[in-house]
């Protein structure tokens, strides 16, 4: 019997409500509940404890983000979803490192993420692209853009922080950084679609 059945004392829709409400206890419990199956999957398929932790966290984050969406809908069990996401992530990693034997040693149900959750696949591609782009951008561009667009720092504060002569110089620099990142992002973005 799948582990998620043992969550039976609280229904899956209650779990989702709790996740949406930011219930730390439920989140922690869910995390602990779902981890074992992924741990077994990865250790049985060429992976280490650390890799199991990384992959599971990534899958859990993806589930968490999805649960927060207003139009959240899941036809399979939460555990199955998280397992399927983790499984896909792990196999991708194995193939990149040429460690995939071609056989998966597992005893858990899973669903095809590519088929059933194309929006997740698209989002991962977008985020990977943006992440790589930021890494390629380096400093100070990466921090300037984060400060302006995420931290909502004012141009004046950015000018001070990075030691520009005046706000116009800072604006120009921010614009150049933005254009470099956009250029990279959109050059590769269309191919991904």
């Amino acid at each position: 019997m799948e582990p998620e059945k043992q969550l039976g004392k609280i229904s899956e829709s209650d779990i989702i409500q709790a996740v949406k409400a930011g219930d730390g206890v439920v989140l922690q419990r869910l995390y602990k509940q779902c981890y074992p199956s992924i741990h077994h999957l990865i250790l049985n398929n060429n992976g280490s404890d650390d890799e199991a932790k990384d992959v599971f966290q990534e899958a859990f984050i993806i589930f968490y983000e999805k649960a927060l969406l207003p139009d959240f809908e899941l036809k399979c069990a939460i555990g199955t979803y998280i397992y399927s996401v983790a499984r896909r992530l792990w196999l991708k990693k194995l193939m990149e490192k040429n460690r995939f034997s071609g056989v998966v040693d597992e005893d858990h149900d899973f669903v095809s993420i590519e088929d059933q959750f194309p929006e997740m696949v698209a989002k991962e591609k977008r985020l990977d692209l943006m992440k790589t782009g930021l890494e390629n951008l380096g400093e100070p561009c990466s921090t300037i853009l984060k400060d302006f667009y995420i931290e909502k720092m004012s141009m004046e504060n950015i000018t001070e922080k990075f030691g520009y002569t005046n706000a116009d110089n800072a604006k120009t620099q921010k614009y150049k950084c933005l254009q470099r990142l956009k250029k990279y992002f959109f050059a590769n973005y269309k191919e991904e679609l």
């Binding site: 409400a21 981890y35 074992p36 966290q57 207003p70 667009y149 614009y175």
Partner: protein, 367 residues
């Protein structure tokens, strides 16, 4: 670096941050409706920013989730999930800490999600496909040309933020200038400028359907142009006919060439041609010329749904319009002249034409 592109991006950011004034916001949204090129740039910016924010949101969730692993025991066992109602959580201090941390994260995340949805809605807004080629030039203090002098002597105060620019050209030697209606439609004052000349204009007539505006030079220093070199074609251009334009999609004059793709324009409009010219915002109002140096029409808009398609109002309609507007002042015969470009090769034609082609600068006091 494309200067006006950086201004446009700053304009997008201010709109998204809600720091535009009410009138600026109205103008912005009106522009989104009229200018598909502007809308496309805006949507691209929004797509980029929403992905950027998604990444930041993920990083903040990651920090929260990282903490959960500490409690994983090395003997992985299947634990039963305890019904929370059976356990009193209120006095559990760890619960309080986790709730506090989670609520901060949730507020951040929900704000981001809301913003992303808002951005999503903006991106999906239905817009007309017909794009007006008008370049948005924002005045920034340090680049402001201090005073534009009316050569009569009175000084005109420089006006602030949003201005638009396009192309205009001389239509008669006594100072009639043609440009697109949408370039000057909300103008308080209009100027033209190129390497040789800089003049203030006054509106004479304009027509929204034809998308043309006729203005007159009202500068006391203007004593007339020498005889204009180009002819005006009254007949229709032929399919496949080679054409060119000169205009100001940037601060320097730009030459583009193409062919007549269709005798009708956007959605079958018979008053304009469709041409395969590389045109951009700022080309609006520029002349469409044939190989012999005759004016075929006035560049009007760009259908960005079709790659490489641009539209131009036919010159015959402009002549008819003027003759109707004031048969005494503007009979067709007034605009008939000898075409002195006819036998010249293209580069020579351009040399002669460019003196009569201008940037149209529009100032709007309302902002």
């Amino acid at each position: 670096m494309n200067y006006s592109d950086s201004i446009q991006t700053a304009f997008f950011d201010r709109y998204l941050n809600g720091t535009l004034s009410e009138s600026e916001t109205l103008l912005f949204e009106q522009r989104l409706n009229e200018d598909v090129y502007f809308k496309r740039n805006f949507n691209e910016h929004v797509t980029f920013l929403s992905t950027f924010q998604e990444l930041a949101e993920r990083e903040s969730i990651r920090k929260q989730v990282a903490g959960f692993h500490e409690n994983i025991s090395t003997n992985i066992s299947n634990e039963t999930f305890i019904n929370p109602k059976k356990v009193s959580l209120l006095n559990n201090s760890r619960f309080k800490i986790l709730m506090a941390a989670a609520s901060v994260a949730i507020i951040t995340v929900l704000t981001t999600v809301f913003t992303l949805n808002y951005m999503g809605m903006l991106a999906k807004k239905q817009q007309s496909a017909y794009m007006a080629l008008r370049k948005d030039v924002e005045r920034i203090k340090h680049s402001q040309k201090a005073i534009i002098n009316d050569l009569n002597g009175s000084k005109i105060e420089p006006v602030t933020p949003v201005t638009f620019s396009g192309t205009g050209f001389a239509f008669s030697a006594d100072g009639l200038i043609i440009t697109s209606y949408h370039v000057v439609s909300d103008a308080d004052s209009v100027f033209i400028e190129n390497d040789k000349f800089k003049f203030k204009l006054e509106e004479v007539a304009k027509d929204k359907t034809l998308d043309i505006a006729i203005l007159k030079i009202v500068d006391s220093s203007f004593t007339g142009f020498s005889e204009l070199p180009f002819g005006i074609k009254k007949q229709s251009a032929e399919l496949g006919e080679k054409v060119y334009t000169l205009g100001f999609p940037r601060d320097e004059i730009v030459y583009g060439e193409g062919t007549v793709s269709s005798g009708s324009g956007y959605e079958g409009d018979t008053s304009s041609y469709q041409v395969s010219l590389p045109v951009n915002p700022g080309n609006s109002g520029g002349p469409l010329m044939d190989e012999q140096g005759n004016l075929l029409g006035v560049i009007s808009g760009k259908n960005s749904d079709v790659e490489g398609a641009a539209f131009a109002t036919k010159s015959k309609l402009i002549l008819d319009y003027l003759a109707k507007w004031d048969p005494n002042e503007f009979p067709s015969s007034k605009f008939q002249r000898k075409n002195s470009l006819k036998s010249l090769k293209r580069t020579e034609q351009l040399k002669k034409m460019k003196d009569y082609i201008f940037v149209v600068k529009v100032y709007n006091n309302k902002i």
